[in-house]
Amino acid sequence: MITSGHLLSINDLTRDGAFEVLDTARELSRITDGAIKKLPTLRGRTVVNLFFEDSTRTRLSFEAAAKRLSADVINFSAKGSSVSKGESLKDTAQTLEAMGAELVIVRHGSSGAAARLAQSGWIRSHVVNAGDGMHEHPTQALLDAYTIREHFPEHDRDFSGLRIGIVGDILHSRVARSNALLLTSLGAQVVLIAPPTLIPIGVSSWPVEISYDLDAEIELLDAIMMLRVQSERMSDAFFPSEREYARDYGLGAERVKALKERAIIMHPGPMNRGLEISASSADTERSVILEQVANGVLVRMAVLYLLMGGTAIPTEGVLV
């Protein structure tokens, strides 16, 4: 169980708590696998998608998760709203809570925004962090762990022995932070692979290994997670050119060949085809990128269920 009532960071989950989310997601997958796509669990309950940054895919994934649990969903996006007229995060959240929201899913450009919502006494709702600045994106890490687990059933209760490479813009990546915490907590070895400019100062306190050499690492990995690289990083001198970045840290056909036989290719999306990942690598049968999307809905259902439901998962065959 998520004892704080919120999911702000992977640190809110113990190892057992993380497995509980993954097990719940698996159970929900089993139940909704057949004709029944929708469960009545959260009928009459309201969740809010509070999105201050554009992210269609994450918003849709949470929306699908909430709707499959029969919750009512209010979508709020900052663009064209009163936020563009200067309304604060606090006022926006309080307004939405006054409309009946019990759980707020927040995406915000400022690190810690979800924590502020949960801990400042502004609102009483549950808060789920759907990505805050450069801090964390815990449901992304959970869906990544879910995906890895499905591909390595012999590691069902323990990721020890799995080596997972996260490649690219670690410095600005909330996906990398959440994954580093979660995957190591589940027992995996995590290696962050990037040019030194994109590795945060202070990373030595993280429970991970660091490498600047993708070719030296690639044949050791069971999963390789390519992070989106924003081309504007170039103007900030993090790397000299897209071509040089793609050559040193991009996943092209040659590198795919060097992967272990069972290794999987992951990407949180949206992809920059041709920069961090070539089109052929993204579309190879080793790529699990679309599975990640599908698993995202399941994991988010599990999180909403565990935060708001609290009772046993409905048995099979419950009709809406």
């Binding site: 606090k90 810690g112 924590a115 801090h135 932070r177």
Partner: protein, 433 residues
């Protein structure tokens, strides 16, 4: 003139002596082991008599941001904290970059009549770092400005900094530098290190402070001018200043009470009450600052009192304003951290919080207790414990990081030019006319 005439009985001086002190006509008229007088008396047993504190770094926000603080409310906070002189930073709106604005601030200070308010002039027009402000006009204005600073921003252009240092020599001015390389700190939110990397907050590396300190020490020495470094926060900065002083270079430096006590890990919950510029640093930095203040590498304590309205802190971290209030808690923090812990004695505290800042600013009527001097004095209870309550601040803003913390030592009485402006911890309503 509403000067209070009285005899302070059996007060202890920083040197340890217990004396009677007579205040008459706004000045200290007598100091003796026993004064017989027909004036009213104040029982000073158990209290320390110190020269009023002098702050070289105070944001009074007026003109322009009166919702945060005014010269009057800031003066009241100063009196409460035992300050008899404050130096109003130039980053007001309009910026204090002309004789007109600095004279206005000085006039507001005189009108408040609670402590001396010495305006600091901007180094560059509009704090934009492009063109020197009319430094000489401010120096020779009625405000008599001697300290110039773009605080809040760094004078980062090395040529402009060189020229400013050279220019103020003609009227014995000093440039107070906010040492922050703006390019190394673009978008910075907190100290860069393990905590910032975990929290995902843009880092403010120590080297961005240290590289400017090193550069400016060399520049000031080259043109033989006076440099003062605002709010030193890093161990490396302390070491650079220590080296410069060992070479006989004319540099002075300040540290804030909050940097003497608080560390970066307070950002953990993203509460922007701990967001300040320069940022809270590591435990190791705090230890170096304490050692530097004790041994005189760091010359003075300055508050960097930076009031902000509630809405500028009741928000997410990135959207919040930088800064903390400090006037009303400075003595208690420094006493607790430095004196009660045995790192500094009372004479050194007087040197760091009163005498030396008065000397740097050229504030002649402050920093000493002597017969014939203006009676800018405070009485403190050095061992009284009290808990900070942000709702009881005299500052118009309540963004203190010390809420609910208990400190040792409290200022009970403040005399400004002989006027008893605070008695037993309460403002008396008296002022200097």
């Amino acid at each position: 003139m509403s000067s209070s005439e009285m005899v302070l009985k059996k007060v202890r001086l920083a040197e340890g002596e217990v004396v009677d002190v007579e205040i008459r006509g706004g000045v200290i008229s007598a100091i003796s082991t026993k004064i017989t007088s027909d004036l009213p008396t104040l029982d000073g047993r158990g209290l320390l008599l110190l020269p009023g504190f002098v702050d070289l770094h105070t944001h009074l926000r007026e003109p322009g941001k009166e919702s945060s603080e005014t010269v009057l409310s800031g003066s009241q906070a100063a009196v409460k904290g035992g300050y008899t002189a404050v130096s109003a930073m130039a980053n007001t709106s309009p910026v204090a970059d002309t004789a007109g604005v600095v004279e206005q601030v000085a006039r507001l200070g005189a009108k408040a009549g609670l402590c001396d308010v010495f305006p600091i002039g901007a180094v560059t027009v509009g704090l934009l770092g492009e063109q020197l402000a009319e430094l000489s006009a401010m120096a020779y204005s009625a405000a008599g400005v001697r300290i110039f600073s773009d605080d809040g921003r760094c004078v980062s252009d090395p040529l402009l900094m060189r020229r400013a240092l050279e220019y103020v020599k003609s009227f014995n001015g000093v440039i107070a530098q906010h040492a922050q390389d703006p390019i190394l700190t673009a978008g910075a939110q907190m100290n860069e290190g393990a905590v910032s990397s975990r929290l995902g907050l843009q880092g403010w590396p120590a080297i961005a402070e240290e590289s400017i300190i090193a550069r400016d020490i060399l520049l000031a020495n080259y043109v033989q001018s006076r440099l003062h470094i605002c709010h030193l926060t890093t161990k490396g900065g302390v070491e650079i200043v220590r080296w410069a002083k060992s070479q006989g270079m004319a540099v002075t430096a300040e540290v804030t009470p909050h940097h003497l006590l608080l560390t970066e890990d307070l950002a953990e919950r993203y509460d922007p009450i701990y967001k300040v510029n320069p940022p809270l640093r590591t435990h190791e930095d705090v230890e170096a600052l304490r050692a530097g203040l004790a041994d005189g590498t760091i010359d003075i304590v300055a508050t960097d009192h930076a009031p902000h309205p509630a809405e500028d802190k009741d928000c997410e971290w990135n959207a919040a304003a930088f800064g903390m209030t400090g006037l009303e808690t400075a003595f208690s923090v420094v006493n607790t951290v430095m004196v009660q812990s045995g790192k500094m004695d009372w004479q050194t505290l007087v040197e760091r919080m009163s005498a030396k800042p008065a000397e740097i600013g050229g504030y002649k009527d402050h920093g000493r207790i002597a017969v014939g001097s203006l009676a800018n004095l405070i009485l403190v209870d050095p061992t009284k414990q009290w808990k900070v309550d942000r709702s009881k601040m005299l500052s118009r803003s309540s963004n203190t990081p010390f809420h609910d913390l208990t400190f040792t030592g409290e200022v009970l009485h403040t005399f400004y030019r002989g006027v008893h402006v605070m008695r037993d911890g309460q403002l008396t309503g008296l002022k200097h006319e």
